[in-house]
């Protein structure tokens, strides 16, 4: 498995784990109809900090194990795979933008709007790296 494929796995798994927990907690609070904004802003800040630490630590660990791969520039196949991932992520971001516009029109509160936008960013990141993994595994 190449360094960049490992990196894609790291991004997908850490995003799903950390932000999955955050959004599940938020969804549960929304379902119960009692959302403490301050609590969730704090939880989000801690989630972001945890994610950054995890991604940096795991990338450094993988780079130490395979320094040659980590230092090599992307080759033509890796560039193509990165572009395919970015293209898929664009559609997720576009859908998020449409959802955000609709929420502004119907007058959704800014806390939820911010969370929808953040969810779109996370989903785009997961899709981008997930599509890359798919192409690394199945071919491009």
């Amino acid at each position: 498995m190449s360094f960049r494929e490992k990196g894609a796995w790291i991004v997908v798994l850490t995003n799903l784990g950390v932000y999955g927990f955050y959004f599940l907690a938020l969804a549960a609070a929304l379902a119960e109809g009692r959302v403490d904004h301050a609590h969730f802003i704090g939880l989000l800040a801690r989630s972001i900090a945890l994610l950054v630490c995890l991604i940096v630590t795991l990338h450094v660990a993988v780079a130490i194990l395979a320094p040659r791969d980590a230092n090599a520039p992307r080759d033509e196949r890796e560039k193509l795979i990165a572009l395919k991932g970015a293209r898929a992520a664009y559609f997720v971001l576009a859908a998020t933008a449409v959802a955000a516009i609709w929420e502004i029109i119907v007058g959704l509160d800014t806390f939820l709007l911010a969370n929808v936008l953040f969810f779109g960013l996370v989903a785009a990141e997961v899709v981008q790296n997930g599509i890359q993994i798919l192409h690394y595994r199945r071919g491009v």
Binding site: S2, D69, D75, R77, R138, G139, V140
Partner: protein
Amino acid sequence: MPTVIENNIRRLRFDAGEMTQQQLADRIGVTRQTVNAIEQGKYSPSLEAAFRIAAVFGVPLESVFHYRP
């Protein structure tokens, strides 16, 4: 997603004294995983990379790659 382009890179590497995928990758400027993907038919290289592979083995392009529609 297998490609319709087949290749003889594995045999050519064998004929070149069991050249490793890493050695070939270093000579054509790609990663070992990309050489492996090309060999497995999971990636069709650019024309430039294809010519570089043929040049490494000192054979014409059509001795390395074949199109199978």
